[in-house]
Amino acid sequence: MLNSNIQDRVIRGLMWLSGLLVVAILFIIIAYISLKGISAINLDFIFDLPHRAGKEGGIFSTIISTIYLTLASLIIAVPLGVGSAIHLEEYARRDSFFARLVNLAAETLAGIPSIVFGLFGFVFFVIYLNLGWSVLSGSLTMAIMILPTITRTSQEAILSVPAEYRENSLALGASKWQTISKVVLPSALPGIITGVILSIGRAIGETAALILTAGSSLGMPAGLLDPARTMSVHLYILAMEGISMERAFGTAFLIIVLIVIINYLANLSLRRMSPAGRLQ
């Protein structure tokens, strides 16, 4: 009796410690980066173009490149991912060969390291399709990388929509597609957006695959076929080539800020769009 009581307390303490550690690690990283990076941050750093390989000037073109690449990969991957999730959950029979194949593909894709995608993107998009190091090559590669996440989270979101909604809608004389588009997808939207947020995080953080496919040009990309350097790639080059540690930390700080802003906006739209939130 006493023994199990002590055991209980020890375990509870350990769990508490794990939680504390998670918070502490996050806090320390953010505090450290902010401390080291904030001195580099000013309006010029954010809104000026880089000069002398990033030693001088700002990082504006890399911020725009990051947003550009992220949006382009979402535009490619979201319709495909949500579409395949709708197919798997609403149309395919769960035990069909094709459904199992798609599931297997999504799982396998999710586990492949990004550098492997980068190598494929380099050989296929950059060289074979002759798209060069460009926003397009980078976005296509990134789209393949985030596709499994979007498919999986959309699948789960669609699966969690109560079966009664579908029955009621069909019994009212709605077609299958009307039921999916007007009842199922709106109810699944919060879950789908969660997958999109995760994907944005991954896209912003990606480095290796993008060096191979989008290049590392510091210019402002004007079109889809222009090369681009994202913030993460910039950070990597600044640090690896010893150009400026202070500016690397400044860039890191802005990456974190960008991710926080995106998460906030996504949460906001989530609350707006989800039925419960919109109606309150």
């Binding site: 009664e164 029955e167 009621n168 009212l172 004389g173 077609s175 709106p186 039925p275 419960a276």
Partner: protein, 252 residues
Amino acid sequence: MDNLKLKSESIKVYYKDFQALHGVYMNIQANRVTALIGPSGCGKSTFLRTINRLNELIAGTRTEGQIYLDDKPIYDKDLDVVELRKEIGMVFQKPSVFPMSIYENVAYGPRIHGIKKRSQLSEIVEKSLKAANLWNEVNDRLNSPAARLSGGQQQRLVIARVLAVEPQVILMDEPASALDPISTSRLEELISELKKHYTIVIVTHNMQQAARISDYTGFFLNGDLVEFNRTDELFVNPRDKRTEDYITGRFG
């Protein structure tokens, strides 16, 4: 004088290898309430769902036989199921409102059937909510979430949503089983009013309810329609020993 609305001929339903119904014949009269009773698993809900062909949603289900709506065979190859379900509405056991406003829930059916004009939709919404005895309780908050209504109100909202499509027949699958006694009696009142304009088929496991609200009753057992008769006849003078045993509470 009763008019035939639905006529079922030798309806058999199979779930994979299991036969759930063994050839059901039933005449359902227009503007009357027909109750289907019987113990769990007897096939009464399965039969109800053959009328709007909802069993087809379950993979591995096979239906044989024919049902006529007026003179229209609903198991005809060329029949448009979507059109059929506009004529035959359904209220389920658990009130399932969509995660939308009260207004949008009722407007859902008319909208998918092509009505776009706001004034026309509002008219339908008001009329349907009034017919479902819900208008007075919700007319000041049509845009608030339907999920905030009580269970009884939700079930009446579901009925309003069905009425908005203007069906001829309304199927109800144990619509009161999740409701408290007061909501149940309001629902029963509503059913008596609705039969003036609609043909109602209701599955219930509550025999008092069947006796109170229905004009005809069918008793199902193990996939057979054991007895079908006017409700007052069936409950007072059951012809089959099994019906008598069931309604006197000897089993089930």
